[in-house]
Symmetry: none
Subunit: 308 residues, 3 copies
Amino acid sequence: MAASGHLRIGELSRRTEVSRELLRAWERRYGLLRPTRSEGGFRLYSPEDERRIKLMQAHLERGLSAAEAARLALAEDAEAASVDTAPPLQRGARDLRAALDALDESAAHAAIDRLLAEVSVASVLREVILPYLRALGERWAGGEVTVGQEHFASNVLRGRLLGLARGWDQGVGPRALLACPPRELHDLGLIVFGLALRGRGWRITFLGADTPLDTLAATAGSLQPDAVVLTASTPEGFASNRDAIRRLARTVPLWIAGGGATSETAQEAGAQLLDADPLGAADRLAARAPHPADARLSHRRGPLLRPP
Amino acid sequence: MAASGHLRIGELSRRTEVSRELLRAWERRYGLLRPTRSEGGFRLYSPEDERRIKLMQAHLERGLSAAEAARLALAEDAEAASVDTAPPLQRGARDLRAALDALDESAAHAAIDRLLAEVSVASVLREVILPYLRALGERWAGGEVTVGQEHFASNVLRGRLLGLARGWDQGVGPRALLACPPRELHDLGLIVFGLALRGRGWRITFLGADTPLDTLAATAGSLQPDAVVLTASTPEGFASNRDAIRRLARTVPLWIAGGGATSETAQEAGAQLLDADPLGAADRLAARAPHPADARLSHRRGPLLRPP
Amino acid sequence: MAASGHLRIGELSRRTEVSRELLRAWERRYGLLRPTRSEGGFRLYSPEDERRIKLMQAHLERGLSAAEAARLALAEDAEAASVDTAPPLQRGARDLRAALDALDESAAHAAIDRLLAEVSVASVLREVILPYLRALGERWAGGEVTVGQEHFASNVLRGRLLGLARGWDQGVGPRALLACPPRELHDLGLIVFGLALRGRGWRITFLGADTPLDTLAATAGSLQPDAVVLTASTPEGFASNRDAIRRLARTVPLWIAGGGATSETAQEAGAQLLDADPLGAADRLAARAPHPADARLSHRRGPLLRPP
DNA sequence: ATAGGTTTTGTCAAGCTTTTGTACAT
DNA sequence: ATGTACAAAAGCTTGACAAAACCTAT
């Protein structure tokens, strides 16, 4: 915080070779600088201010007008933050959220690109994407976020997650068939679950949101997956399809997960229970261990799961 | 959006060597330029305006009348502005090469990011990275490219490929141990091979360039991989370590690949031959089929490979 | 308590070349000094007081106001007094070492990801990566670690460091061109150095290991960097290229660093000396201050460094 | 191409306040 | 040693100004 100290206008002028008057003019006219003030009213400039001046100068050098140079310097500074000492994951999460809230798709992609360069996919999912989705849900419930923002964010993230998912059906591992029951439209958690399972060596076949259960049964019949996983965000997602799910569970190794998956639902449906959290669910399925609350059903495990 | 900034008429005139008056005339007469205006009424030209002027000048150079030149420039610009019709892979390859040649790391990353957003990792490797590396080798041999450019490009690509490789040791597939023999420094092909093999479900352990063969043997002893793969860019890489490689081949399932791997080398070393091309080599190893030219050794296949 | 001798104001004034009046003013106005009192009421200053004065003077030197300088001096002093190695860092370092020793890449990535979730890049480099690399060298020398382990760890870390490096060529700061001389293969320290310099606002162009000096000269000619930095792990790296390095130093602002950089080597080569430690070297270059041992060459500083 | 008017941008000045090193009386 | 005083240096705001750059219209 107090790492490098704030400068007064004289020293800043000396360092940047910009006159004091001009520094004040740039602040007044373009808002380029945002000094705090000393108790007596002196301007105190941060290192960020100094960086913005450097940017401004670079643009002026290129022949831009002062107004244009300042506009660019401010814009770049907002996105660049090239010298940022925050932990990368925290910084990435902050940048992503700001970009999505502002409906700025390219900034969102930039934030994700940088995150993926700096940390592993699993960490991005666990520390950034999932917390963001959870917070989004809460903010939506609290009316802090518009439906438009929610749709925008969902679509951007869906695109990226599916990009990461490319080729997740290839290889030699066990195969999982993933879907949401009819009327369930929240598939982001399901994609995250698929990615996590993929990271554990599984092959994924993804049917996505709002999948009729007869279609799911037919697909499972022809694919012969090692697990079929249904996720729903509310218990109704499972409850309103109880009979079909129960039938399905008799013919395929069926697991349920997501916010709507409870041990009662699982028992009623004759399915095995995974965690509500996609990453925990992936761990559990990879270990072939049903949720503890689902213990009564564990005898089904053996017959249902073929070895890879 | 605000990426590059708008120019006023003076700077545009300076850059294009077209007088201010003429710029205004071209705007009035032909609608060649479409500047926005500042609050006070100054013209603000976009980079597209600058591009149209360049086109216009080229046509004038060829002897066309101003009216005709402007008409063409506008038409071409409209075309260029519409989606770049080149296939993504071609365009990406072109952009990547231009960026790396110019030592412009950010542009190179941007090109790769765009590619990965549009096509699969396998396609990028096959259609962009590998052709680039091959062409780099040829251009280097022909003196068209400096060692500096080659080093720069290698390091940028190495970073990206190792980024894609993150987590390639996870899962349940067969395990491969990858290395280059002593003094062999070209590990990019080996990383590409590892990525391709990973795409086929294998787990990868990567030791990289310039690996002493005794440590490779020891590591293989403790890891018990399903395959050990050595790559070298020249036959000497294998030849100068013939005896050590031969000893190694007696205790581990050894395969050789890369530009230096020939059927003679393989036979001498007692190793199995993979293709020179990393992707072909990965296909072949995943199928556990040695190169046809290596048929004389095929009897070794069975005993050497443990089932996954 | 009084172990190390307390000073009275006269002696402290003499040592620090700060007038008595000013010392009292700093105490009164900023609380910078906290002298105890003799029985008769004389101020008795501790060595900590003296250290704070030195810090204060350094900040004043940099152009900070007295109030700001005092604030920083007090803050830094408090920080230095607090325990430095926070638990997450210790645990991360331990996990990373265990994972890399076991050739467990995923565990290594997980450890690094955990660190990057909580701690800045700079801290990870200083407290984890560099200590690990140093220990690795020592353990390798002592035969406690195999070359295989060393290769594996290097490649994992190289991938991560290059991931953190993405975009390090962007911005408006001074530009540095980084390379190792021919036959020098240890580029990890050079990458860490680049990251540290990046953290201080520089732009980096990275050529990496084993770079021929003529291509380095050519690249420097076209890039016109503000500094060219060569690192080698042993003095031979520089010694065996002495003449070429000397020629290079005549045309570019050349600095040498790394375990092989000594004041003799620097003098012979006509280059300026940076610290062996990458972070110290980055600090020094960012401050444009040649190594004390390099004082005899300091007259070269002016002409060699173009203003950024 | 020129004339006559406007906008943009860097600089300056006047009058007053804050900060900071030093001096002095007690 | 303490507390107060003081003055130089550095800063603040407001307002104005002029050169450079640009506009339209002829």
